[in-house]
Symmetry: C2
DNA sequence: TTAACTGTACTAACATAATTAATACAGTTA
DNA sequence: TAACTGTATTAATTATGTTAGTACAGTTAA
């Protein structure tokens, strides 16, 4: 379900945060469902429970999950996650568009790239 | 000319590489002109000469500069830098467009964002 | 009530990468 | 020759991430 990329420069706990966010967005983890326990996920990934703990703490800090002591960590409503991801992407796009403009990309080139990404395989 | 951001998670030498690339693209450093010497830039930024040395080695590895022992580090032709930046941006755009699509951005929203970045203040 | 789960907290050890420090060597230039 | 250039090397230091081990508190079901 979750794979750690040791070539990735980001720390493990950040990768886990990102992977879980993706899984929530894709509906694999539904709102109010329980995430794997700290210890079981640590076991599954062969890493230390402290690292999972840190990832889960970060997810809670972002409002993406809530935890009930003794019970587990649970997925919050998907809305705030979508909103925060949208905001994040918007910033990235703005920055990248500006750089693209500066380096000499034309609008048309960007639109072509965009169409390629938005192309439907099964229209 | 160059400012180090200590809040930036990237190492200093990487920041320096990026800043110098930008200065070359902007024409502040012209082709075949000499970069500040390792020691003088280290002095100016109040960091260790070894760190500058590492940044300069990276710039040379990328083909963005060439060095003449005893003389200094010099800016290569701007072409390969532009090409590599274009390639880099293209990858970023492709990834970001795909994410944007998945999270629910419409093409129209992206084009609006793009137009905002490409807007001319003095048409 | 107890056993087996949950999350949380804390300290110590360890690993790695980045950075600093100090020194040395080689080529260039005035 | 003196004062610049880049390069190389080794050691110490710092910061961060990760691991290890232990302990404590709440929940749940037998």
């Amino acid at each position: 379900m979750i794979l750690i990329d040791y070539k990735d420069r980001r720390p493990i706990y950040e990768q886990i945060v990102e992977k879980i966010e993706t899984l929530i967005l894709k509906g694999v983890f539904e709102p109010d469902s329980m995430l794997p326990s700290v210890r079981s996920l640590a076991m599954e990934l062969s890493i230390n429970p402290n690292t999972i703990q840190r990832a889960y703490a970060e997810l809670e800090r972002k409002g993406i999950t809530y935890t009930v002591k003794g019970k587990g960590s649970f997925v919050s409503s998907r809305n705030e996650l979508i909103d925060s991801k949208k905001e994040e992407l918007k910033m990235t796009l703005q920055t990248t568009f500006l750089q693209a403009k500066e380096i000499g990309f034309t609008k048309e080139e960007l639109i072509t790239l965009m169409n390629a990404s938005y192309e439907e395989e099964n229209p």
